[in-house]
């Protein structure tokens, strides 16, 4: 794969490391102290970000710069800071974050810090530390043993858990758009059906390649329209060739897919002929009944009852599948989790290490997944309805790139690009 893709893939998440802010002031431009300090940081293996820079208007006016320095570990950072102090830089010492023990289970203390999906850092014992498991609409718990902060959903709060309160000692580091893949910068103009599809499609394929090359997972969030439109074989091929590591769906996608595998229909409509067949409407419930009688999808695959389709490939290829149920489900299939909280917890666990999410033809599952993903995970939402993409962005998953199109030609072309790169 091209080197550029690899670099791009590595930039999908925040760099690891520790951060400290310093301030340099005085005649730092004429004295070349500002470039010198920046050069020193790089020479010593650190990286920097200029957070603020004010240049004096007249010769006598001092200038001022606030610089965030990032190093691989605390020792390297200390070494850089020790050097910079010699050149007149002074560490900026804001307060540590305030922590309060949770007084009741399942709820945060009043005044808790409510998270976003953007990279966040908490200051603990004078050091900025990246928050793990970044997720919007959570609180931040600080592990008392390791002093490491992570996002925690309200429902997981236990009594005594140290929860960050207030806004002191917390900062949000916006995702650097310029470092994102060119595809994402190319597609930053929101949702429209009137956009060239081919370039976007190639961009999606390149992002998936880069994600896989970087050792990150690709997540597919799929709705039943994948099966209705006859796209299941394309998705099955993508799974078979290793382009999907995690699948989030509901009872419907799995049921229709299995119905197709067993009866060749989806909700009684023949996928080959496109017409309803006699007694076809029964296929749906008979499929669920058969699988329930077998004890589950895996058992049915093992018994040779299901021999093709999305769910078959998932079982055969070890894809991490979370099927979350809803109140309108028939059956449901035994693997469908009907406890929404439990499903959410499993999805939360499964989104770790996901570097790319492809959301196809499902509004609610897409929004639920978007809620769990940090802002640096690339999200592509494909739907015939522009409102689905808009809803996802409006709920905070602003990094979403939308493709308003019928899913079948999209998936056919994507499978063609990824599974047969020569075409």
């Amino acid at each position: 794969m091209p080197l550029d893709d690899r670099r791009e893939a590595h930039s999908t998440g925040p760099d690891p490391g520790v951060i400290e802010e310093v301030e340099v002031r005085g005649h730092i431009v004429d004295s070349l102290l500002l470039p010198k300090v920046l050069d020193r940081i790089l020479q010593m293996g650190g990286t920097f970000e200029i957070l603020e820079c004010t240049i004096g208007a007249r010769r006598v006016d001092p200038s001022h710069a606030r610089i965030a320095i990032r190093a691989d570990d605390a020792a390297s950072l200390d070494q850089i800071l020790g050097d910079l102090v010699e050149h007149g830089a002074t560490p900026v010492n804001p307060e540590d974050a305030k922590v309060e023990p949770a007084d009741i289970a399942g709820a945060f203390p009043d005044g808790f810090y409510s998270t976003t999906n953007q990279r966040t850092q908490v200051r603990i014992n004078g050091r900025w530390i990246d928050v793990a498991d970044q997720e919007m609409d959570c609180g931040i718990v600080v592990d008392p043993a390791t002093n490491s902060p992570r996002c925690v959903p309200m429902i997981d709060v236990t009594v005594g858990m140290p929860i960050v309160v207030g806004h002191a000692g917390i900062r949000v580091v916006p995702t650097e758009r310029s470092r994102e893949a060119s595809f994402f910068s190319f597609m930053n103009s929101g949702v429209s059906s009137e956009k060239p599809k081919a370039a976007k499609l190639i961009g999606v394929a390149e992002s998936m390649r880069a994600t896989r090359a970087a050792g990150k997972k690709i997540l597919l969030v799929g709705g039943p329209a994948i099966v209705h439109t006859g796209s299941a074989p394309h998705v099955a091929q993508l799974i078979r060739e290793g382009w999907v590591q995690t699948l989030f769906a509901g009872n419907a996608l799995a049921t229709h897919d299995i119905e197709q595998a067993i009866y060749g229909t989806s909700l009684g409509v023949s996928l080959e002929e496109g017409e309803a067949i006699e007694h076809g409407h029964e296929h749906h419930l008979r499929t669920i009944n058969t699988i329930r009688r077998k004890g589950g999808i895996k058992a049915a695959v093992d018994a040779g009852l299901i021999r093709s389709g999305i769910m078959y490939e998932c079982i055969k290829n070890g894809v991490d599948v979370v099927l979350a149920g809803s109140v309108r489900d028939d059956g449901p299939l035994p693997e469908v989790i009907s406890d929404a909280i439990q499903a959410q917890a499993l999805m939360r666990k499964s989104v770790k290490d996901v570097g790319f999410a492809l959301m196809i033809a499902t509004a609610l599952h897409s929004i639920a997944t978007g809620n769990l993903l940090p802002a640096w995970v690339k999200v592509v939402c494909v739907d015939i309805n522009p409102a689905t993409v808009t809803k996802l962005s409006d709920r905070g998953t602003f990094q979403t790139v939308g493709l308003v199109t019928d899913v079948e030609p999209f998936l056919r072309s994507l499978a063609g690009l990824l599974c047969n790169p020569s075409l």
């Binding site: 005085g26 004429d30 070349l32 470039p35 010699e86």
Partner: protein, 288 residues
């Protein structure tokens, strides 16, 4: 209108090498008190001969480096910013210098605790700008503090060779637009700053720099400096300056020469504020 140049000196009654705080000092080598006195007197007499009114500090036993009055502090108009010596062995000097400055009517001020700053040894005006050396004795942040306090542009320059541990051992402003310097004492940044800011820069060779030829006293168009720098003398001559070489070997043993032994009280020739006293009204800006 010209005023009489005024310079502070301190007789070397108690001068000697009692400790080692720079690469030149060796307590084993020691100094010759008679020769030291003779060399110091020659400098004194040369300055008087040049029309300088020399003021004398009372020497103090136990403070051998009090003789190096350049390190007392920084004079800016009627302000005297007292030094904060990095090494404990010299810190006792400040009380004496401050007492003297008070008695002479200066407004005396010190840098906040924790700062290191060694006066005119590390801070030299060239035009309106204060060029300031840091790393071995003074801190870059102290220079920034001074810049804000006095309302003058300050350009800190890192010193990279421990033999040239004070700025006045490797840089000497001659006028508002000319100076001599030894490039090897600075890094690329420092050299770029100096060449970018000062119109005429005379480079001193490494051989002549180690004989402390940059540690010179400028009085009008005369440069009093350690002998052993014929090339520099010629370059100065080409610029219209006369050289007065002196043998100050006893003081080089402690890492000092002509400039270190003097503190100009009415403003160096190169300082803009000397000719425009209104510039020397400290802005007394708020400093943190």
């Amino acid at each position: 209108m010209t005023t009489t140049p005024r310079i502070l000196m301190c007789p070397p009654d108690y001068y000697g090498i009692e400790y080692e705080i720079n690469p030149w000092m060796s307590t084993e080598v020691g100094t010759d008190p008679v020769e030291s006195r003779r060399q110091w007197q020659a400098l004194h007499d040369t300055l008087v001969d040049l029309g300088v009114a020399v003021e004398l500090m009372e020497p103090e036993p136990g403070l051998p480096d009090l003789v190096f009055t350049a390190n007392a502090g920084l004079v800016f108009g009627d302000h005297f910013l007292s030094s904060r010596f990095r090494h404990g062995v010299r810190q006792g000097e400040s009380a004496h210098f401050e007492r003297w400055a008070c008695a002479r009517g200066f407004v005396v001020e010190s840098l906040p605790p924790g700062h290191n700053f060694e006066g005119a040894g590390d801070a030299l005006f060239c035009g309106p700008t204060l060029f300031a050396g840091y790393r071995f004795r003074s801190d870059a942040r102290s220079h920034h503090w001074i810049g804000e306090r006095l309302g003058v542009p300050v350009l800190p320059l890192e010193l990279v060779d421990p033999r040239f541990y004070h700025l006045d051992t490797c840089f000497c402003p001659l006028s508002e637009t000319a100076a001599i310097y030894y490039p090897g004492a600075f890094d690329d940044y420092g050299r770029s700053v100096l060449t970018g800011q000062i119109g005429t820069l005379i480079e001193v060779s490494a051989e002549e720099a180690v004989s402390f030829s940059c540690n010179a006293v400028v009085v009008g168009q005369t440069v009093v400096l350690n002998d052993g720098a014929p090339k520099l003398a010629k370059a100065l001559n080409d610029l219209g300056y006369r050289s007065r070489p002196l043998r100050l070997t006893e003081f080089i043993k402690a890492g000092g020469s002509a400039k270190c032994l003097t503190l100009r009280l009415d403003g160096e020739e190169a300082a803009s504020w000397k000719r425009s006293p209104e510039l020397a009204l400290p802005k007394l800006g708020a400093t943190g």
